[in-house]
Every structure is written in structure tokens, then in C-alpha cells.
């Protein structure tokens, strides 16, 4: 575990935000700055670094709840959880060690276990944030169920910092699986998709299903007896190194994440057939997330995603000053714009990060 001193810089953040709001000064919120060129549009604004706001505030393994300051790195949190035999079920990336819990929640970035373990948005129990009026607010709590008021904490997941600065997060944690086994099957993308859906419909201890480079990998995790039995039942090649693909996928280290062609992430109906016009580089999340490297234009990719009842996001590269995610319908966009202003009336937080108009 790297040395991460506990540090509460929230008074400084609060003061900084209050000043910025008074001056209508745009802020570019960041933690480890690991996702600057991913997922969103570039932000022109003064940097507001939250990475100094860190440390585990409270951790009660028997309650399955941890409270962390937003600048705490994912690496640091996961190693503290691991000591108690626990983890985050959504398997978030640490991106070289810099990724913070706050940034990960803001981007709602989940790993290969997402269809079974949920996303960051599913693990959030509550949080503390500072809104654009410089008010420190708490929503949710540290208990599994809380339906008082609107679900403001979950609303921060995927908002990419456009609603406020997340300062502290309460997360549900889960036990580490007792046993993990990965099975490999050589096959085409079409066959892989069929097999993934077949397996996803069965009650199996599955928590990874990805096709990449001509190989489908299925990851089993859970009670040892169940994993061993299921592995025998499914066949395939049992991999000695069960984590290689999953780690490279989670940490965005596969070649598809570093090549020069614009990289799109499509979030689709998992059973939707492959689009012949857009060659898929990887199929993850048992079919629900597909990676496509293409020079095809924005409208073409968005139309392809819409045909599969889903959405597209220009994940990396390409023209990032234009819109990078599928457009919203007008009434939806109007409400999202009003929600933005309800939190950030002076539009100081990450302007344009999510959409040009937000």
C-alpha cells in the first residue's frame, strides 16, 4: 500500500468554490487526472484538485460499509478492503494508481463484473458534496436502504462533476469471492455473443463474460464447490492466470485502448445482433458493452447504438470538442439542463464536460 496520509481539505475546497461561484469562474474538477482525455469533452476552467482530500473516514467490515474522502485512490481503498476480505463488487479501474474514488463515481466507471456486481452507482449508499452555491450537503447515509428524499447521491454517478464537488462517499462493499476461475473458448464474435447470452440466462456463478481477439473468456467466482462444479460443466480451457484479460480490460491496457483510431463504447441491449458495418474489437458485460474502433462519423455510430436500443460514447480519441455521447431527446435534455442549474446556478462545475450545452 502506498503512503496516503489522511487529510481533510474540505474547508479549502468550500472556500474555493464559494469564491468561484461569486466570480462565475469555471472550475475543472479533478482527482488523479487519469480520465482527462476519456469519456467526456475537454473543460476550460481553473483546476480544482480534490486529490488532497483523502483517507478512509469509517470502515465497518461487518456492516459492509466504508466511508471515504473523494480524493482517496481506488488502489488505497481496495487494499484496505482486501485486508478484511472485502472489495468493491463493480471492479473499478485504478488506471496506474491515480484514479480516485470521487472521480470513479463521477464517471461511473465499472469493470468487467458490472452486469453481476453492479456499477459504482449501485454501490453508493450516500455522499457529501458541495453544490454550486457553496453549500455542504449530505444525502443518503451509511445504511443499505434509504428512500427519504430524492436519490441525489446516485445522481452524481456519471454526472462527471457537473452538479457539484463530491467530497465524501459511503459505499457498499462485498466479500471477496472464495474462488475465481477463468475459462477460454476460441470462437468468432457472433458465436461468442450467442454463448454469453446463453450462459447469462443460467444460474451460474458467473462474473465476467468477454470476447476479445478471437477468444471468449468466462469468469466464474464464488463458493469453491460451485466454481469447480460449473467449470467442469462448461468445459473450455481453464486458464492458469485467471485475471490477465480482466485486469487489462479493467485497466484499459488492451491494445484497443491505445491504438490511434477513435474508440467508441457502445452500451446496448446485450442480445442485440452485431452491426456488420461497425467491426467490434471487444464484447464485454455479456454483450451489453461493446468496444468499436472506427473512423465512422458521430451520427453513424449513434444510429447504430440506437438501433440496438442503446447509446454510444466516444470513449477515447476522435473529435472531442464536438459532442461525444448520443444526443438526448429534447424534453429530457431540458430537464437535465434545469437539474444542472438546480445544483450549479452559476455553471461553474466542469462546464461542457458531459455535453456542450451543460
Amino acid at each position: 500500500m502506498t503512503e496516503t496520509p489522511e487529510q481533510d481539505i474540505s474547508p479549502t475546497l468550500l472556500q474555493r468554490i464559494t469564491e468561484a461561484a461569486a466570480r462565475r469562474e469555471p472550475l475543472r474538477i479533478h482527482g488523479g487526472d487519469t480520465k482527462r482525455d476519456l469519456l467526456g469533452r475537454p473543460v476550460a476552467g481553473t483546476a480544482l484538485d480534490i486529490s488532497g482530500h483523502r483517507g478512509i473516514v469509517h470502515y465497518e467490515p461487518a456492516e459492509l460499509v466504508v466511508s471515504v474522502r473523494a480524493g482517496t485512490t481506488i488502489d488505497y481503498l481496495l487494499s484496505a478492503l482486501r485486508e478484511q476480505g472485502q472489495t468493491l463488487a463493480c471492479e473499478p479501474p485504478s488506471l496506474g494508481g491515480g484514479a480516485t474514488v470521487g472521480g470513479t463515481l463521477a464517471c461511473n466507471l465499472s469493470g468487467p463484473a458490472r452486469p453481476w456486481g453492479g456499477a459504482m452507482r449501485d454501490a453508493v449508499l450516500g455522499l457529501e458534496m458541495i453544490n454550486g452555491k457553496g453549500q455542504r450537503l449530505n444525502f443518503g447515509g451509511t445504511v443499505m436502504k434509504n428512500v427519504a428524499g430524492y436519490d441525489v447521491s446516485r445522481l452524481q454517478a456519471g454526472a462527471m462533476g457537473t452538479l457539484g464537488v463530491i467530497t465524501q462517499i459511503n459505499l457498499k462493499v462485498m466479500p471477496l469471492p472464495e474462488c475465481v476461475q477463468t475459462l477460454a473458448f476460441e470462437c468468432t464474435a457472433i458465436d461468442a455473443l450467442g454463448m454469453m447470452r446463453e450462459r447469462a440466462r443460467q444460474a451460474l456463478p458467473l462474473n465476467g463474460a468477454c470476447w476479445h481477439a478471437g477468444v471468449l473468456q468466462l469468469r466464474l467466482a464464488g463458493a469453491e464447490t460451485a466454481v469447480t462444479h460449473t467449470a467442469r460443466q462448461l468445459g473450455g480451457q481453464a486458464l492458469a492466470e485467471s485475471d490477465t484479460l480482466w485486469r487489462d480490460l479493467r485497466e484499459l491496457r488492451l491494445p484497443l485502448f491505445t491504438q490511434a483510431t477513435p474508440l467508441w463504447r457502445l452500451s446496448l441491449d446485450p442480445a442485440a445482433p452485431l452491426d456488420d458495418a461497425l467491426t467490434v474489437s471487444a464484447i464485454d458485460w455479456a454483450g451489453a458493452q461493446r468496444w468499436v474502433a472506427t473512423e465512422a462519423d458521430f451520427d453513424t455510430v449513434c444510429a447504430s447504438a440506437a438501433a440496438a436500443a442503446g447509446h454510444a460514447c466516444l470513449f477515447r480519441g476522435g473529435e472531442r470538442h464536438a459532442e461525444v455521447r448520443s444526443p438526448l431527446h429534447a424534453p429530457d435534455a431540458a430537464i437535465q439542463q434545469r437539474l444542472k442549474l438546480a445544483f450549479d446556478p452559476e455553471r461553474i462545475f466542469n462546464p461542457g464536460r458531459l455535453y456542450g450545452w451543460m
Binding site: 467490515p61 461487518a62 459492509l64 458490472r114 452486469p115 456499477a119 452507482r121 455542504r136 450537503l137 444525502f139 447515509g141 445504511v143 443499505m144 436502504k145 434509504n146 428512500v147 427519504a148 428524499g149 430524492y150 436519490d151 441525489v152 446516485r154 445522481l155 456519471g158 454526472a159 452538479l163 466479500p175 447470452r197 447469462a200 440466462r201 443460467q202 444460474a203 456463478p205 464464488g222 463458493a223 464447490t225 460451485a226 452500451s267 446496448l268 441491449d269 446485450p270 442480445a271 458485460w285 451489453a288 458493452q289 440496438a308 436500443a309 442503446g310 460514447c313 455521447r325 448520443s326 431527446h329 424534453p331 429530457d332 430537464i335 437535465q336 437539474l339 444542472k340 438546480a342 458531459l354
Partner: protein, 487 residues
């Protein structure tokens, strides 16, 4: 009807409104006489009742849209209602508005086994989804105790839980997309068939919003494969504290049970009298612990749980030997509310959450309050997720007892917040818990919630006076009758 001050809600003429509604949905779908509207005057929290101007029962999404456009134009309050099984007066009618029943939108639109999803209208009952999916070996996981009757639309509005939340999550974790008609009558398509959607998480903000932000007309839920095996263990304990500690031991051992329920002595005896489930009558508390999954997993975890419960000092321990016995053990738990209901003329069901480790302390405090108020209380506890349901026994015919029961309930919710929990785990705020909202939220937090409401419904036509106390717009609320006002 009180006369509103100028500049607020216009007077609404019932006959004129009925004519407009009839144009939207047809005469057979508008109720206006008192006797026909009577069944809609309250939800399952019958302490709070009121009559709407009209009950309107649209048959499809287009009719809902027409009704909402019309109500927006006329500034008429709209209270949506599903099956009426809510426990917080969340769907109690507004005396100057319409009660919008979604009961006729009751079609299962499609089951997509390959995608593991079901698209349904809001009036479909929770259990009907699993029933329709079962032919594909799939089911819908959230299972509130009222699942035979409660509608999926109501589940979305209150983000319902059930006895399997710790492992399978709440309603919000099990939805993919929804169609919403806004207060202005516009149609929104939220979420998608994929797992993540771009932009702000509108699915999250809509789920649990208690009919304050929009009217849900279609929902696509996730379906899960039915677990091939499930077993339940029944453990009796000599003290609440021992049972509470056993829960911590199970979780710390790395097992996430599918269901983990605790009942105290009074609840156990009532349930046992009601349906002879085989609970140990001498126990001060029981735990029902269910594990599910593959045969191998269930077998391994059952053995481990048996060992853990024994070591935690269980005074009796039993593993259900058949599917029938497993169903019987659960029937006892699911029948606890009606069973406790037989002990007194009425009961008042609370819904606080607390950290699991605080359960014995909080239950001791509740026992103290029970003596203070002279009202008996039975406790059932979703121990896996910290959701406590004290059932306060009282006589609604006795106004002094009603006052005491309400005050007792409020004190319990304050105890929950003080223990690090919250005022509602799964039932919602409705009208019932509005006064406790400031216990959980600061003034600034309540203002933020109010601003969210205004982003969706600036005219405050949707379920006014429920869910979130209105602070700065209280001016408009002076137009409401006294009982809808709050500070």
C-alpha cells in the same frame, strides 16, 4: 373548500374538470360520485384519508399524456396511485386535484428472455412479472411483502425493497428503462436496454420519487435466472443481542445470505398463532437465514451457516428439510403484519433503518418507549440490510391512543437517525414522515431537494404536499387546506 388567495391556484369546478377529463379518457374512466371514489380515499395507511375532486383511470400512455397536459393547463394537482398498498399516505388524494389511478395500465408488454428483461405497464403486480418470466427460468428479484398485490409502478415510485435486498438490491438496482409523462404532459424515455446510459442518471432520480417528478407509464426491469437451489435456516436466540451479534458474525464470515430476517418474541408468537410455521415460541428472537444459488454453493453455505449460528449461541437451530417447509417458514414471516394485526384493533408500521450493529440498542430503547406510551410493539427486522419495522399496536377508535401511536412512531424514527440510520428504508416519506424530514436533512439539503422538484414540476402539480417538505414556495401552499400545510 377554502378560498385561495389571489395569484395562487385557480378555483376548480368539478363538473367542468370532469368534462375535460372525459374528453381525455372517456366517461367510463372518470369517477366523480363519493361512493365510487371511496375506495381511493387512502392507501394502506388508513389513518390519513381525503377525497379527490375526481378519480381518473386512463387506459394507455396517450390518455395519461392527455390528462397531464390538461391538468398542467388548468393547474390541477395530480396524485398517482398504483395498487394502493403504500404505507405512508403517499397516494392519499388531494382535495383540489385528481387521483390518477394507473390500475388499467396492466399489460405485460414483452418478456425478452435473451436480454433478460421484461417490459411492463405500471399497473402490473410485482409477482405477475416473475410469474410471466418463470417459463424462461427467470424472475424479478425485488419482493416486497405485499408483492401479490403491489404494482410495479408503485414499486418504482417508492424504490421498494423486500426480504432479498442485501444480495439482490432494491428496485433502483433492477431497472433498465422507463417511459415517463412529465407534469407538463411531455414524454420522456429514460435509461436504455444497455446497462449504462449517458447524461445524468434520470433513472436514479425518478426511482423512489413518490410521484413527485413524473408519471411512469412503462417500465423495463431486469430479470435474473431463478436460482436452482435455496435453503433456509431457522435459529432461535435467548436475547435480541445474541441474535444481532449472530448477524454480524455471518456477514463477517463473507457470506451474503439471500434473505436474513429477525423477529422479536411478540412477532414470533403472533406469527406462530397465525400460521403455525414452527417457530420456537420460547425464543426472545429468531433469525431466518436463506442462501440460494447452485446446489453446490447452497450446500457449502448451509453447512457453514449452521456452524456459525451454533457458535453464535443459537438456542435452537433447524434447517428446512423440504421446499414445503421452506415456504412455510417464509409464510410465517410474510404473514407477520396481519398476524400482529390480530393482537389489537390497529397497528402502525414503522420503517426506519439502522446500522446492523445498533439493533439491540435500538430495540432496547424501543422497549423503553413502549412502556412509556403504554402501547405494545412487535418488531420485525430485515437484518441483512438494517431495515427495522416496529409494529405499534393501538386502537384507532381511541383518539388518545392514535396521538400516542403517532408520537411513539416519530420517536422511533428519531432513534434511527441518532443511531446513524434514516427515517425510511423502503416505504417512503409520503405524507406520514414529512415532519421527520428535517430530522434527517438540513434546511439547505431540503432546499436542494425542492430545487430538484422544481426542475421537473415548477408548478408543483404532482403529488403536492408529500415526500419533500416545501419551504420557500410555502406562499403557494397557503392555498391548500390546513392539513396539507407543513412547516
Amino acid at each position: 373548500m377554502s378560498q385561495p388567495p389571489p395569484g395562487t391556484r385557480p378555483d376548480i369546478d368539478r363538473a367542468a374538470l370532469a368534462a375535460r377529463m372525459t374528453a381525455c379518457v372517456g366517461a367510463h374512466n372518470v369517477l366523480s360520485d363519493r361512493e365510487s371514489m371511496r375506495p381511493y380515499e387512502c392507501d394502506a395507511l388508513t389513518l390519513y384519508r381525503d377525497m379527490p375532486l375526481l378519480v381518473v383511470l386512463p387506459e394507455n400512455d396517450q390518455q395519461v399524456q392527455a390528462v397531464m397536459r390538461c391538468c398542467s393547463e388548468l393547474q390541477v394537482p395530480v396524485v398517482a396511485r398504483g395498487a394502493g398498498t403504500g404505507l405512508t399516505a403517499g397516494s392519499m388524494p388531494h382535495p383540489e386535484g385528481i387521483l390518477l389511478s394507473l390500475a388499467k395500465l396492466d399489460r405485460i408488454v414483452r418478456i425478452s428472455p435473451q436480454s433478460c428483461s421484461a417490459t411492463v405497464q405500471p399497473g402490473v403486480s410485482n409477482l405477475a412479472i416473475s410469474a410471466a418470466a418463470s417459463r424462461y427460468g427467470l424472475y424479478y428479484a425485488p419482493d416486497p411483502s405485499s408483492q401479490i398485490a403491489c404494482s410495479i409502478g408503485g414499486n418504482v415510485a417508492s424504490n421498494s425493497g423486500g426480504v432479498h435486498c442485501l444480495k439482490y438490491g432494491l428496485t433502483v438496482h433492477n431497472l433498465l428503462s422507463m417511459t415517463v409523462i412529465t407534469a407538463q404532459g411531455e414524454r420522456l424515455q429514460l435509461g436504455s436496454a444497455g446497462l449504462d446510459s449517458p447524461g445524468l442518471d434520470m433513472m436514479a432520480i425518478m426511482t423512489g420519487s413518490e410521484g413527485l417528478l413524473g408519471i411512469v407509464t412503462e417500465i423495463t426491469v431486469k430479470l435474473l435466472p431463478q436460482p436452482p437451489a435455496a435453503r433456509v435456516l431457522l435459529a432461535g436466540f435467548d436475547s435480541i443481542r445474541a441474535a444481532g451479534d449472530a448477524v454480524g458474525t455471518i456477514i463477517a464470515a463473507g457470506i451474503i445470505p439471500a434473505g436474513l430476517e429477525m423477529m422479536d418474541a411478540l412477532a414470533v408468537q403472533a406469527a406462530e398463532d397465525f400460521c403455525q410455521a414452527g417457530y420456537p415460541r420460547a425464543a426472545q428472537a429468531i433469525l431466518l437465514c436463506e442462501v440460494d444459488g447452485t446446489e453446490q454453493e447452497v450446500e457449502q453455505h448451509t453447512g457453514r451457516l449452521h456452524e456459525l449460528l451454533q457458535r453464535a449461541g443459537a438456542s435452537s437451530l433447524h434447517i428446512a428439510q423440504s421446499e414445503e417447509e421452506r415456504a412455510l417458514l417464509w409464510r410465517g414471516r410474510k404473514a407477520t403484519f396481519p398476524a400482529v394485526g390480530r393482537l389489537a384493533p390497529d397497528y402502525y408500521c414503522m420503517d426506519g433503518t439502522i446500522p446492523r450493529s445498533a439493533v439491540s440498542t435500538v430495540l432496547e430503547q424501543i422497549a423503553g418507549l413502549s412502556k412509556h406510551y403504554g402501547l405494545r410493539v412487535a418488531n420485525v427486522f430485515h437484518a441483512g440490510d438494517g431495515n427495522l419495522h416496529p409494529l405499534i399496536l393501538f386502537d384507532a377508535g381511541d383518539s388518545e391512543q392514535v396521538r400516542k401511536a403517532e408520537s411513539f412512531g416519530a420517536r422511533i424514527l428519531e432513534l434511527c437517525v441518532a443511531a446513524g440510520g434514516c427515517i425510511t428504508g423502503e416505504h417512503g416519506v409520503g405524507l406520514e414522515k414529512l415532519r421527520q424530514m428535517p430530522v434527517q436533512f438540513s434546511h439547505e439539503e431540503l432546499l436542494q431537494l425542492e430545487d430538484i422538484k422544481a426542475a421537473f414540476d415548477p408548478a408543483l402539480n404532482l403529488n403536492p404536499g408529500k415526500g419533500v417538505p416545501i419551504l420557500k414556495r410555502c406562499q403557494e401552499y397557503r392555498a391548500l387546506p390546513g392539513r396539507h400545510q407543513h412547516d
